[in-house]
Symmetry: C2
């Protein structure tokens, strides 16, 4: 049986999820792709850390060694931050590899560059995992809504913020205590600034913007407000009125310009995002024919995010002529 | 520009929706298909009824006239009931046409026959519109979850029943009065038996069963119970306990057999279907990697259902060699 050689950049939670999912779903991948998928290399940062990686896999800190693997066809990128993620993805595409990324910060800024380069090289870039974890929002928009005009997207794109808001309301906790519980559950980073200040949701909204509207608004003009300004009293007052604060990323076209915001919004029970609780994410898509649909599910996590990457790969993969000469 | 000739079988709510959507989304279809879509014929039942159909379109009660259209490539079937829907679809496929159907009763029983015949003839059968109206559940399962093992599907598949349950709880109405409001809103048929007795949801569940598990359970062994047995007192008692009755279609594999049921289920607030209200439908899909995702949206209606048919068509269409000789 043919072997598809893949490399994994980063071996954090998501990287490990992909590594394990490829092993546990070997048969399903075979059935779909008529090929074995082999993780041939894992790029890591700290060579001294103990990892559960098969001895047949090249484990290296040197990206050049990864790219030098003969017949490498796919790169799964699960690194955090713009660099070196962007450079690695670009080099992989240049070399003729498909790229599947979970890196929202990088993709919000450089997605267009990667997509254009991929088109030029005849490979594909999968970025389902950048936005809303396991929820297949990217491919729902790009594949299931090709005729509908999408007019607006409203979404809860950060599970940490949503968890904190739920915990504040349900357990009557002030912000800091609710955040501490999120930390204890592993739902918040040691430094949760990107999550609770709205930057994480902002990146995902910009990725959706490019997909839906073909462009992004001026980043400086997008109103971004986190949940830190909400007091327990605010949330309890809303609750008594039957309302809830949700941290909503919103984008729509207003005349010739895109209006985008990421901020706490007070919503009534009939709002599609009112009932989205805990670490879930949800995306409401408004289309010209379909009306309004909402996708809800895990916005992060080892296997949901790995699911997005593996499904992206399985749906988009096709053998490509290797362009080794280019690198 | 190339023209794709299509025929429309049935000109009820859904048929009219498709007819209008093809006109209002002409540009989007052109962009996607690089072709004009022309509704060349509409098959009707009552020739005396006044209809808003362009005079250039063949309007006929004779299906043979439809099939005889030179170069016909696509048939949109929006008739109710097993026959003549099934025979027409089968003949269209035999002739080498793609078929897009919204006919759940027919497709629950004969879907396999049509899919196999279509494979043999090199055409495709789109059936997104048979299940959950505008919600792209069929293609989410078939295209976005190709690696995940789907373990279970739980769904609200009948908007009428869901509306009635919501109205009973919110407005403290007995079943018959809530149903009357559904009728006034156009959410219930004059004879709503198929909806409130669970048969409609059953058909959709059987369609999902074939898609997810490759087979259907013995129809006779599926527990099907409508919402008619629920009293206002039942619903109010549940409400006081913070619970809600939802009419849930459920299917999962239990060892070697499929367990399926369609019945009212008492669910707590943390259940994914608890907050689905009014005429909405929702489907929760449990996958081996993704965990649990829920799709919520309009389960019926002119344009949502037309959306499902048109999107199916746009995504699946490819020019086929006409096999006129076969008919």
């Amino acid at each position: 049986m043919r072997v598809i050689k893949a490399a994994l950049l980063g071996f954090g939670t998501v990287g490990q999820g992909v590594y394990e999912a490829v092993r546990t779903h070997r048969e399903q991948l075979k059935e779909k792709l008529h090929a074995e998928v082999e993780i041939a290399a894992v790029l890591i940062k700290n060579p001294r850390k103990k990892r559960n990686i098969d001895s047949s896999v090249l484990v290296t800190t040197d990206f050049r060694e990864v790219l030098a693997i003969p017949g490498l066809e796919v790169v799964f990128e699960a690194i955090i931050g713009e660099e070196p993620g962007f450079s690695y993805c670009l080099q992989a595409i240049e070399k003729g590899c498909h790229v599947i990324t979970a890196n929202k910060v990088m993709f919000a800024r450089y997605g267009n560059v990667l997509l254009e380069k991929a088109k030029e090289k005849g490979v594909f870039v999968g970025y389902e995992a950048t936005t809303a974890g396991g929820i297949p929002v990217i491919r729902t928009i790009s594949q299931q809504l090709q005729v509908n005009d999408i007019q607006r997207v409203q979404a809860i794109l950060n599970g940490t913020s949503n968890f904190v808001l739920s915990a504040m309301r349900e357990k009557h906790l002030p912000f800091e205590e609710a955040l501490e519980i999120a930390r204890q559950h592993g739902y918040a980073e040691a430094d949760p600034g990107n999550d609770v200040k709205g930057q994480d949701a902002f990146c995902k909204l910009m990725i959706l913007s490019r997909l839906v509207f073909g462009t992004q608004p001026d980043w400086e003009k997008v109103e971004v407000e986190g949940i830190g300004g909400l007091s327990l009293a605010d949330i309890e007052r809303a609750d008594r009125q039957g309302l809830r604060y949700k941290h909503i990323a919103d984008i729509y076209r207003d005349g010739g310009t895109l209006k985008a915001s990421v901020k706490p919004v007070l919503v009534p029970p009939e709002h599609a995002l009112y009932a989205v609780e805990g670490v879930n994410n949800a995306i409401t898509i408004y289309g010209s024919l379909i009306g309004k649909i909402t996708l809800t599910g895990p916005g992060a996590g080892k296997f949901p995010t790995a699911s997005a990457m593996i499904e992206d790969f399985a749906a988009g993969y096709r053998p490509v002529p290797q362009l080794d000469a280019v690198s």
